[in-house]
Structure formats: structure tokens, C-alpha cells
């Protein structure tokens, strides 16, 4: 194209007033154009994208639904209060089918396709373990809400954190003093014959021993079992406490058959609410549990001494006093675990703000800032209770609740201390390269 008017003629020295005005007008117009505004603010106010690895389908779906509700409520609360470092937060959801192979693909998809800032939200242990290598290779911080001991075992990698929920080793250890002092000294364990059960099999006996109590029998039940009566004669007659952690759909049959086996004369029962998460405690067949005790991470039922923060959290997530969805009493929540999503997102907020996080180039800084965290005070950001955080093993420690089934509700009868759940670190992630 010929430059007939000498527009590009750099030899023209004079700049006419008209030309100057045109230039200023064009420059101003460009600066005010919506596209330009968006571009110039991209670094400072584009939303922080959190990849939510969700168990929307597969065996984790009941938990997944409530993890999604809780996370959405937390993100709304964070955004209403100004976001993270002044930037809005956006959840990008991918379903992992509760499958470890798909989980790893989803983490890679977040890192490379969605280009999220972090990945968050995984519950099932095998999915966490299967996805952890992908998080490490893509150098994307991976905040899980799994309660498994795998993070704290330091067998994963430096990019994996569990700052919003305690791990099962700590939970079991915290239960031992109360069981030994209040339920009995001779304990028989009944657990499913897979990893979740093995944690209880391995960590409870030493914890009880330290309290002067003993596990006198351990009964592992194959995961495919649908009837349990044949196992009950293995329970020693001198058993004072049955410690049960059966999970899955068979739990109703398990409780019913245990009731038929013992009738009205039964030992004390102590269980983990994992068995009955998202299950109505008043379901037919569960009457036998009346008077028994359960571990709960966060109480399902509203308690008389609930803090204002706990009340606000329950209202924000949309659960009623019975721990079911507001307006649908049959839709029972996974209250004992899902608070971890809420608290983890607030830990992410704190760590990002501490790190002065701007974008994916600051992921290493975010890892270090998270490792530097020490304490989370009880309050709106941590409604379950206060926590301490060990940056070397990427795991938080907190209080646990022991609740009694009374009149078809779970009533908290004891709260443990943070110290009850502390143990010697098994390694140190901070020695790994970033």
C-alpha cells in the first residue's frame, strides 16, 4: 500500500495541532475500549481459578455432592468479602469418577488446559494417591480434603497439602483416651478388609496401649461381604467395647445383625461416623445404635453450645439443625468431613495473600507460604475449631468430637484437644526441591 499522504514519512518534522489532537483522541479511545481495560487489568483482577477435582460420579458421589455445596458456599462467602487479594475466586469443576487414573488426568487438565492456579477438593484416598504424581510433575499445589494419612506419611510430594481436615491416624489416636476412660479397657475391632480399615487396625492398638487398654481381637471383614452374623462368634466374650468402622451400603445390615446377635445385652459400641455419613441415623435397623458413641469431625446435629461461626457456617452451606439439607430432611449431609472444604479454601486464601500470589508463576511461593502457616484460630474461617499446622508434613491437627446417639440424634459429649492427636512427623516435605 502506497503511503500517499506521507503518514509513515519519518522525515516530516512538523507535528500539526490537528495531528496531535487526533493522536490523543485515538490513544484515549483505545485506553477506554473495553478490551483494553480488561487486558490492562488481567494481572490484577482476573479471577483466581481453583480446579475442583470432584467425585461427582462413582462411589464417592454422595460425599462429592456435599463437598460441592460446601465449596460453593465458601467461595461465595470469600467473594462477598472481597475475594483473595482483591480478586474474585472461581471454581472450575471436573469430575474424576472417583477413579485414580481419571484423577491424574483431571489434575493434568487443570494444570495444562484450564490453567487453574491450584487443584483442590479430593476426598477418596486412592484418588489422592493416584493424582499426586500428576500434581508434582505439573508443579501445581494440590489441596486435598481426604482425612487419609497419606499426605502426612510424606510418601506423596511437596505439592500436596491437607490443611483443612485432620488425618485418620490423628483422629484414632485422639479417641483412645476417651475410650479407655469411659467405654472400657478390652476392645474388639471390626473393620473392612481394605485400606480404610487398616488405618484403624494399625493405629488403634498402640494408642489404646498407651492408655492402659488393649485390643483383644481384630476382625477384618472382606469388602464383598453382605452378611455378618458368621463373624460375630469371633468376638471374645470378655469384650467391653466393640470398635466398628464398617462403611458402605452393607453398614445397615451390619448394625441390624449385630443387634440380633446381642439383643439387649451388648458391650459398649464405638464407631466412626464415616459409616453413616449421608445416612439418616433414624433409618430402620439402626435403632441398635441408640446409646452408642461415634467420632465426628464436625457435629452433624446443631449443638446447644454451637459458636456463632458454626451457626453462620451451617446457614451458609444450607444444612438444618439435623444436618440435612434445608427444605429436604431426607438429604442428610456429610457434615463430619465437608467442613474441610470450607476451611481449606480459607487456608488457600491466607496462603495466597501471604505469598502475594499473582499467578501460576508464583506457585512455588504459594507452597512455601502454606508451609509457613502455623495456627488457624477458631472463627468464621475455621468453624470446626482451632487447628495447628505442621508445614513439614503438610498436615493440620485439630479437635475431634465424640457424640452419643440419644433420642435419634447425635449429641456431642466430649471434645478432644489438639495435643491428643499430635504424633512424631514421619518425614519432611520441605527438603524436597520445588
Amino acid at each position: 500500500m502506497a503511503d500517499k499522504n506521507g503518514f509513515f514519512d519519518l522525515s516530516k518534522k512538523e507535528l500539526s495541532r490537528r495531528t496531535a489532537l487526533k493522536g490523543i483522541a485515538a490513544g484515549t479511545g483505545l485506553a477506554l475500549a473495553p478490551g483494553f481495560v480488561r487486558y490492562s487489568q488481567a494481572q490484577s483482577s482476573a479471577p483466581i481459578k481453583i480446579g475442583f477435582q470432584l467425585h461427582r460420579t462413582g462411589i464417592g458421589a454422595a460425599y462429592g455432592r456435599w463437598y460441592e455445596k460446601t465449596s460453593a458456599a465458601a467461595v461465595k462467602a470469600i467473594n462477598d468479602a472481597g475475594g483473595i487479594g482483591g480478586r474474585k475466586v472461581e471454581l472450575v469443576i471436573e469430575d474424576d469418577g472417583t477413579d485414580p487414573a481419571r484423577g491424574a488426568e483431571v489434575v493434568a487438565k487443570f494444570a495444562k488446559q484450564h490453567k487453574t492456579d491450584i487443584v483442590f477438593g479430593t476426598l477418596f484416598s486412592h484418588v489422592v494417591i493416584g493424582s499426586a504424581p500428576a500434581a508434582g510433575e505439573n508443579k501445581i499445589p494440590y489441596f486435598v480434603v481426604s482425612e487419609g494419612h497419606h499426605v502426612a506419611s510424606t510418601k506423596l510430594n511437596r505439592y500436596v497439602f491437607q490443611p483443612g481436615i485432620t488425618d485418620v491416624k490423628s483422629q484414632i489416636q485422639s479417641m483412645a483416651p476417651w475410650i479407655a476412660a469411659n467405654a472400657g479397657k478390652k476392645v474388639t475391632q471390626i473393620f473392612p478388609d481394605f485400606a480404610f480399615g487398616y488405618d484403624h487396625r494399625d493405629y488403634l492398638p498402640p494408642a489404646l496401649k498407651a492408655q492402659g487398654a488393649d485390643v483383644i481381637a481384630q476382625i477384618a471383614i472382606p469388602p464383598t461381604e453382605s452378611s455378618f452374623t458368621k463373624y460375630f462368634p469371633q468376638i471374645p466374650a470378655e469384650t467391653e467395647v466393640i470398635y466398628h468402622v464398617m462403611v458402605g451400603p452393607a453398614v445397615l445390615t451390619f448394625v441390624k445383625e449385630l443387634g440380633e446377635f446381642y439383643g439387649s445385652q451388648r458391650p459398649q459400641l464405638f464407631g466412626f461416623i464415616d459409616s453413616l455419613e449421608a445416612v439418616d441415623i433414624n433409618s430402620p435397623g439402626l435403632e441398635f445404635l441408640d446409646g452408642s458413641h461415634f467420632w465426628e469431625g464436625s457435629p452433624r446435629y446443631a449443638q446447644p453450645d454451637d459458636s456463632a461461626a458454626q451457626k453462620a457456617y451451617r446457614a451458609a452451606v444450607g444444612i438444618d439443625d439435623n444436618g440435612a439439607a434445608v427444605g429436604d430432611p431426607k438429604d442428610v449431609s456429610t457434615a463430619a468431613h465437608m467442613f474441610g472444604c470450607w476451611e481449606t479454601l480459607y487456608v488457600v486464601k491466607k496462603a495466597m495473600e501471604d505469598a502475594g500470589y499473582k499467578g501460576p508463576e508464583d506457585r512455588a511461593k504459594l507452597v512455601e507460604a502454606t508451609e509457613a502457616l502455623k495456627e488457624f484460630a477458631e472463627g468464621p474461617e475455621h468453624p470446626q475449631g482451632p487447628k495447628s499446622f505442621n508445614g513439614k508434613i503438610h498436615q493440620c491437627f485439630g479437635i475431634q468430637n465424640i457424640s452419643k446417639v440419644e433420642g435419634g440424634k447425635l449429641k456431642v459429649v466430649h471434645k478432644t484437644k489438639i495435643e491428643d492427636g499430635l504424633y512424631e512427623p514421619e518425614g519432611d516435605y520441605t527438603t524436597q526441591a520445588l
Binding site: 485414580p100 495444562k112 488446559q113 504424581p133 481394605f194 485400606a195 487398616y198
Partner: protein, 320 residues
């Protein structure tokens, strides 16, 4: 299979390998990673296809061969600290030995009984993995640390967690197995296998030892599937029992049926298709398995012999 000029056939296969090589430099990051996974799993499908497509033996237990490779490689790295090449060989050897043992027993049956027997053996294998949780990590599985996934040759080292190195390793395995299967199906041995599929009695009458040939096919199939499993453990760093579950026995059958049974490239096409339908559909709805199901039904209706099988039947009779 009609007579084909070997040049055309080899050109097609080398062309596919060349295309996959070029894709490494063209594909966006995420898809590069996905393709590496697809190639590693296509090897699994190729191993399955050798037995199902060419011999006509429908196994519902191939997850055990895949996971024999997965654990054979993974556990030697995790517990014994073996290097990547030795671990890979250990994985393949585990698969081949297991296939030999299972073949000797399962080949006493045929048809539906063969399906059931292989499925039962796979279930036993799966439960053994759970039973020996202290070594296998049970249902949670084990992570192979990044530091263990480095191949050291002389002074140089290849980090399998690097996306390009991983892609190239997956491609190398895929290419070798593709050319081996092509050579097998074009060989005398391959023709005997097809003859067994078409009419075992007649093949016997012609003087062939059909049991020995079938056993050789089971071992070759098991070894190839184990190679896929071993590669998967070493390339992606996770070893878990879900890979031994019945789902992973059904998946290669599905991939092969989709791509075209008894076609050398069908397993790749089927795996690629299933992966992308799942990946794209899951972006739109949580009912993505429904979409996958509808896609499968449509394929069965309009491509009853799988994508490449139908193409071969209608247009390209020379496809191997």
C-alpha cells in the same frame, strides 16, 4: 484378509508412527499428555486384540496381565530400588509368566467357559493385590517417586516425568508393539491363529497343534499387555489395585471392538475415540457415561465391525 502389497501396509504403519511423532510438537500441552497415556493404553488394547481379534478367544481377565506388568515394574522400583529398564523387563516377564500359567489352565476351556475362567483368575489376582496390602499398598496403591523414574544411560539421564520424554517413550513402546503385531499377523503363525479362529477343527485336521499355537498367543498377548502396564507405572508414577479390577478387563475389549477387532490399528483408534468422547463429554455434563453409551450404541449400529473393521470391509480391503 485380502492380499496386500507389503509396501503399502508398512507405509501406512510407518506413516501413523511418523504422524504421532509430529503430533508431539504440535499438540497443546494437555493433549500431548493425554496422547502419551492413550498410546500406552493402546498397547494394552493391541495385546488384547492379538488374542481376541486374531484367535477369537474372548478373555474377561486381561486386567491381570496389565496389572502384572504394572506391579511387576512398580514394586521392583518401590521395594527393591531397581532402575527403570530392569523394572520394565521385570514387568513384562511377570506378565508373560502369568499368561503362561493361566494359558495352560484356561485353554482347557473355550467360548463362554474361557470368559468365565479368565474373569475368575483376574478376580483372584485382584484380591491377592488387596490381601498383600502391606507390599502392594492395597486399594490405595503406591506412588513411584519422581526420582525413581529416571533412566540413566552412561552419563545421560532421561527423566520420564518430562512431558516430551514421556511422550517419546510411550511412542517408542507403541511403535515397537505395533510393528511386532503387524509382523505376527503377517507371519505363518498369525495365519494359523486366524485359521483357528475361523475353524479350529479344520486347522487341527491340517496338522497344526492348535493348543500350542493358542498358548503362544496367550503368552504374547499377556506379555504385550504387561508391557503396557509396566510402562504405565513407570511413565505415570502410580500403581493401584483399580487397574486390576474387572473394569480394566472390559475396557480393552471395548477399545478393540470400537476400533475394529483383528485390525492392527483398530486398538489405537478405539482407545483414542473412547478417551476423547469421555474427555469432551465430561466437560458438558456429569452424565457423560450416558453419552459414551449412546456413542457406543451408534457405533455398533452403523459400524458393527468397529471403525477400521467397517472401513476395511467397505473400502480398504487391504488393511491388515
Amino acid at each position: 484378509m485380502r492380499d496386500a502389497s507389503p509396501a503399502k501396509t508398512y507405509a501406512l504403519h510407518v506413516g501413523v508412527i511418523a504422524l504421532l511423532f509430529v503430533l508431539n510438537f504440535v499438540l497443546p500441552d494437555y493433549h500431548q499428555g493425554l496422547f502419551a497415556r492413550i498410546m500406552a493404553l493402546a498397547v494394552f488394547a493391541m495385546g488384547y486384540n492379538l488374542l481376541f481379534g486374531y484367535v477369537g478367544l474372548l478373555s474377561l481377565g486381561h486386567a491381570m496381565f496389565f496389572s502384572a506388568g504394572l506391579y511387576g515394574a512398580g514394586l521392583t522400583v518401590y521395594h527393591l530400588g531397581w532402575g527403570v529398564p530392569e523394572a520394565f523387563v521385570a514387568g513384562v516377564a511377570c506378565g508373560a509368566l502369568l499368561a503362561l500359567a493361566i494359558g495352560l489352565l484356561a485353554l482347557r476351556t473355550s467360548g463362554v467357559a474361557f470368559m468365565i475362567v479368565t474373569m475368575m483368575f483376574a478376580q483372584v489376582f485382584y484380591l491377592l493385590i488387596l490381601y498383600f496390602a502391606a507390599w502392594t499398598g492395597g486399594d490405595q496403591g503406591l506412588v513411584i517417586q519422581q526420582a525413581s523414574r529416571v533412566i540413566s544411560i552412561g552419563g545421560a539421564s532421561l527423566d520420564l516425568t518430562n512431558s516430551t520424554v514421556r511422550y517419546m517413550n510411550a511412542l517408542a513402546l507403541f511403535s515397537v508393539v505395533l510393528l511386532i503385531t503387524l509382523a505376527i499377523v503377517r507371519s505363518r503363525f498369525g495365519r494359523v491363529l486366524v485359521a483357528i479362529r475361523e475353524n479350529e477343527e479344520r486347522t487341527k485336521m491340517l496338522g497344526y497343534d492348535t493348543v500350542a499355537n493358542k498358548l503362544a498367543a496367550v503368552v504374547a498377548s499377556g506379555a504385550i499387555c504387561a508391557a503396557s502396564g509396566a510402562a504405565y507405572a513407570l511413565l505415570f508414577g502410580y500403581v493401584g489395585s483399580s487397574f486390576a479390577s474387572v473394569q480394566y478387563s472390559i475396557l480393552p475389549l471395548l477399545w478393540v471392538l470400537l476400533g475394529g477387532a483383528a485390525t492392527t490399528l483398530g486398538p489405537l483408534v478405539g482407545t483414542l475415540f473412547m478417551y476423547y468422547v469421555t474427555d469432551i463429554a465430561s466437560g458438558f455434563t456429569s452424565a457423560y457415561l450416558l453419552i459414551v453409551g449412546v456413542a457406543l450404541i451408534l457405533l455398533v449400529l452403523f459400524f458393527p465391525k468397529g471403525i477400521l473393521g467397517t472401513i476395511r470391509e467397505r473400502w480398504l480391503g487391504w488393511l491388515p
